[in-house]
Structures are given as C-alpha cells and as structure tokens.
Symmetry: C2
Subunit: 333 residues, 2 copies
C-alpha cells in the first residue's frame, strides 16, 4: 500500500519515475527547479508544486531526491527546516553513488530518515523531454541501509519500489553498493575512455578506425556519451574506482608479461579465469523464469539477512507482510 | 573482370565468400578438408574438388586460403609442389594477422605470389552451416603488400574484392595492419576478458552482476565468445598486443593516480583526450554518402601511395583502369 510520493527533480530519472508512479495509480506530487515540465506533468496526473515548502506541505510518505548529485547539498539544506516538524516523511534518492549521499544527508541533520536507492535504469538522454515510464521496465534497484536505519522507513522505500514502481530490489550497505557500481560501471567507463584515447594517440588512427568492427563499437560505446557526466560519476566514486583501475592495470601487465615470455599456459589460464561469469551469463540468458520463495526478515540483524540474500543472487519482488518478503532466486556465481 | 577463384576451406569465412562470389556470377572452385559441405555448395554453384591437386588443376586466377591459421603451414607445404608449374596463380588469404602468414608463405617458397587480405567480416559462429553471403555486406578488406609485391598480383586480389565480392579495400603493409588490428580488436578482447576476470574474483560478484546494465553488457560481450579462438588470435599478434596492453595499463594507472591526488583538471583532460574520435564517429554516423574521387597509382612507390591514401581515411571501391582507382573519401581524425 503506497501512499503519496514526492519527487524532487523532473529530469530523465525523476520525470520517468513520476510518470510511472502516476500511471500506476500512485498519488504523486513534484517539484522541479524550473517549472517548464509542469504543464505536461500535470496532464500526466502529477501534482506540481511551486516551492519545496508546498511539496512538503502535501505530506508525502517519502520524498525521492532525483536532482543532480551536485545540487544535493543545497536541496538537503533547503529541506531541513521544512522537515523539522514532519518526522513521518522518509527521505530517499536515486543517485549512482550512495555513501556520499548518506554523508550529505547526515551533514544536513537528516541522516535518521534517509534510505538510499539507486535504480538500474537510464540511457544516454537527459531531461523531462526524454522521461518515459518504460525506462523502469524490469529494472532492479539497489536499496542501501546502515545499522541505524529504521526498518519502517526501509519498508516505505522498498514497497514504493516493489508495489509503486513494480520493480525488484536488492538491499546493500553503501560500501558494497559503491564498490559493485565501480566494478560494473564506473571503472569500465574509464577503461572505455582509455581505449578511445589510445586510438586517438595512435599515428595510424584512421587505418585502425577503418578496420574497427563489432568488438570496438561495443567496447567504446559508453565513451561516446557525455564524458562530463561520466567524469562526475567517476570522481564521486573515486576511491573504489582507483582500486579497480590499479587491479585492471596489473591484470593487463600480467598478460603483457605472459605474451612477452611466450607463456602459453599462463595465457590459457587468463582466458579461462572468467568461466564462472560465462556460465552465469549463459544460465541467466537461458532462464525462462525464476523460482520464487519467501524470506523471513528478523527484527535484529535484518540488514545482514538482506545483504546475504543479495549475495546469493536473490532479489525482493514484494512483501507478504512487513517481516516476510517474496524473493526471486536467480543464477549465482 | 574477375576470372576463376579457388577457395581453400569452406568454413564461415570461406563458405560465405564462395557463396557470395558464386551468387555474383564468378566461377568458383573449392576444396575443404572434409567433404560434408560439398552437396550444398554444389547446389549453390560452387564446383567442389576432392583434392588440392584438382583445385589447382582448375587453373584459378587466385587461390584464397580460408583455412584456420593453425593449418596454414601444412596447406602451404601441400600447395607448393602443385603450384610449381603454375606461376600464373596468385595466392591470398583471409587471416586476421598478416605478417605471420607472409612469413609462412615465404618459408614455403611462395612469397613472390602472395598478397595478404583480411576481410572485416565475421560473427561469433563458425563452419559451413553458418556461411552466408550477406556476411560481406558493406565490408572493408585490408589488402597487405610489401616492397616486392608484383602489382599485377595485387590487382588480381584487389579486383577480386572490389568487382568480385563488391567490397571496399584499404592497402597496408603487414606491420601497419597487425598493429591496427591489435588496437581495435586483439588488445580490446584481452581488456574485455580482464573485466570478467576481475568480476569473477570479486567477493561481491553476484551483487555486482545483479547491478550490471548496458555498459557492462557492451564491454564484456566479446569475452563471452569462444575464449580459445580469442586466445589464438591474441597469441598470433603477441608483440603488438603486448605493447598496447602496457600502454593501457599505464593509462589506467595514470587515472588512478589522478583520482588518488584529487587532480580534477587531469581527470578532465583524460576525459577530453578522445574528443577527436568522438567527432570522427559523429561525422561518420551523420554521413548519408561519401564523395568519390580518382586516385592515380604510380608504377614506382605504389605501395606508399596506397598506404598514404588509407591513412587519409580513403578506401578503394574499384578500378577504372589498372593504374587508376576509384576512392571513397571518408571522415578522418
């Protein structure tokens, strides 16, 4: 049972979320730093507010901060006095890094009501004009909690996603999230960019570019989309990206050494090391559906129970009652 | 005017080539190490021969070696005595590395009639069953020559590709080809594999895999296709791949250092360095057609003239007469 949801920022992510929730019958109130999307948003059933004060006065159960990360400190500072006499409102966001946002929420005195969220949804576009409820089709969200998170606030955000948006969630601590995001997105974006930099520096770049086929196109696609947005994302997760870049540099140097030494068995071992991922991908691709099960969530240590579930490759699709989740069992490595 | 073409090996590449040539009215004779594709090939208008002797006796203008690279020394040794009294037959191939094949042709005493070729065509399949003439739609071929290449033999191979197959060519020396192929394919394949190895070694691999979206899928796609074929390709171009892996490792370490030091301006410069490639890609994508021009090919130094043309981003689409090519002017960096 999802109540009123407040959206801060009607860009690609926030606008798509607002339209999806409204389309699924959820009461949505929204504020944007400029009112240009308001006419269309109102036509979509989204109640637009002129100020953050009016947004808070609409008494949403949760406020979802969909503003750019760089605006987060200002938005949080603006919300703080408004939320002072409204302890029932839970705060969440959609940022691609989670530790930093929690720190900002704490710095604004709002840490006790914050639950992090990050939808695995997006494309190379931006802005309200690109907003589309189908952006969230079959999306997975990471929901991040810490040891002091109020379970009822977690449940507000979790059921907003499962019931309101119709998506799956995995529950993580901020560090696990930010390290995993560095692994499958932030670091690979740097690698992709390094590839096009290497080509650009190559004296035979036009010959090489002419010979480029599917491999090159696939591996450099993300380097072509807004490098400044990528740079910001990488810098916000700098510590984790740094560690992974050094590990990747060591792996590439190892292969260079094997090739230099003509060590074919070491090269063979390198090419075989990723087999668990190849098997996982083949199993995931071949699956026509996933078995569901129920997961009891204890009052004490619920964070760990949910983290271990995520590590086993499970995802939450809904709640039977507050302490019993429905989970989907997916292939695991 | 393309005469008779002999194909050695009816796998994905050779089978597709034979079917395409036959479909375009070229007389095609073929030999395969096992006769299982012969019935279908004959139905496609390909004249299949039981032995290499019979293939050579059909007097093709060019023999295209489409066998696996590892079989090349044996095939060349088998052809040598057969070709001794047939100096008019030109030898070419479709291998993904060119210096090694030329060395093997020379070692077999066939270097004087060898012209290298490498079509930028292929997919993750293999074998005659996957052979399809459309594999060559809009393909570019690299044709490789050295200072001793007989121009008439070059022209035999070049017109086989432009007139026979209906494709474009760029003319390179072996080293330029093998370095460029390492840049846009062989090295990136190693990088893609290193990414899945890093994930596999990650204690939170299931969490990271669950969060994976388009970036990860794109960048790891080539790591999933036959790692043993990739390994062979990398080892055949080991020297060039080694150099590029060390350069990539240095680039990734540089970014790690910038992030460690909080050097935002260096991170910005890193993300801007590939802008010439971004512009090139945007221009290529936006082009609705390419201007054509004529290129005079001198008797002396023709190899350099054609290499410089390739470096300017031009590709040969045909020949008006033996010393005058039609070229397509494409965007260049």
């Amino acid at each position: 049972m999802v109540g009123t949801i407040g959206i801060v920022g009607l860009g690609l992510i926030g606008g798509s979320l607002a339209r999806r929730l409204a389309g699924r019958g959820v009461r949505v109130v929204a504020w944007n730093h400029r009112p240009h999307p308001y006419a269309q948003a109102e036509a979509d059933g989204i109640s637009c507010k002129a100020t953050l004060t009016e947004l808070v006065d609409a008494a949403p159960d949760a406020l979802v901060l969909c503003n750019p990360l760089k605006a987060m400190p200002d938005i949080l500072a603006g919300l703080r006095p408004l939320l002072e006499h409204r302890p029932e409102i839970t705060l969440t966001d959609v940022g691609s890094v989670k530790g930093m946002v929690r720190d900002q929420a704490k710095a604004a005195g709002l840490g006790d009501r914050y639950v992090g969220a990050h939808p695995m949804a997006g494309n190379e576009l931006s802005g309200w004009q690109a907003a589309n409820p189908t952006l969230y089709d079959d999306a997975l969200w990471a929901v991040t909690v810490d040891e002091s998170t109020d379970y009822r606030r977690f449940l507000t955000v979790a059921s907003l996603i499962t019931d309101g948006v119709g998506n799956r969630i995995i529950v993580l601590d901020d560090e696990t999230h930010d390290k995993a995001a560095a692994m499958i997105s932030h670091m690979p974006h740097v690698v992709s960019t390094a590839l096009i930099n290497e080509l650009t520096a190559n004296p035979d770049r036009n010959v090489a570019a002419a010979l480029a086929a599917g491999c090159w196109r696939d591996m450099t696609r993300v380097s072509l989309t807004d490098p400044d947005r990528t740079r910001a994302m990488v810098e916000e997760d700098a510590l984790n990206v740094e560690v992974l870049l050094r590990r990747m540099a060591a792996r590439l140097t190892d292969v260079a050494d094997y090739l230099h030494d003509g060590d074919t068995s070491a090269v063979r071992a390198f090419f075989a090391a990723g087999d668990p991922f190849r098997t996982y991908r083949a199993e995931t691709k071949a699956a026509t559906g996933f078995t569901r099960a129920e997961l009891e969530i204890p009052e004490t240590g619920w964070q760990q129970t949910l983290l271990f579930s995520a590590r086993r490759g499970e995802a939450i699709t809904g709640f039977i009652h507050p302490r019993q989740a429905v989970i989907e069992l997916r292939p695991a490595m």
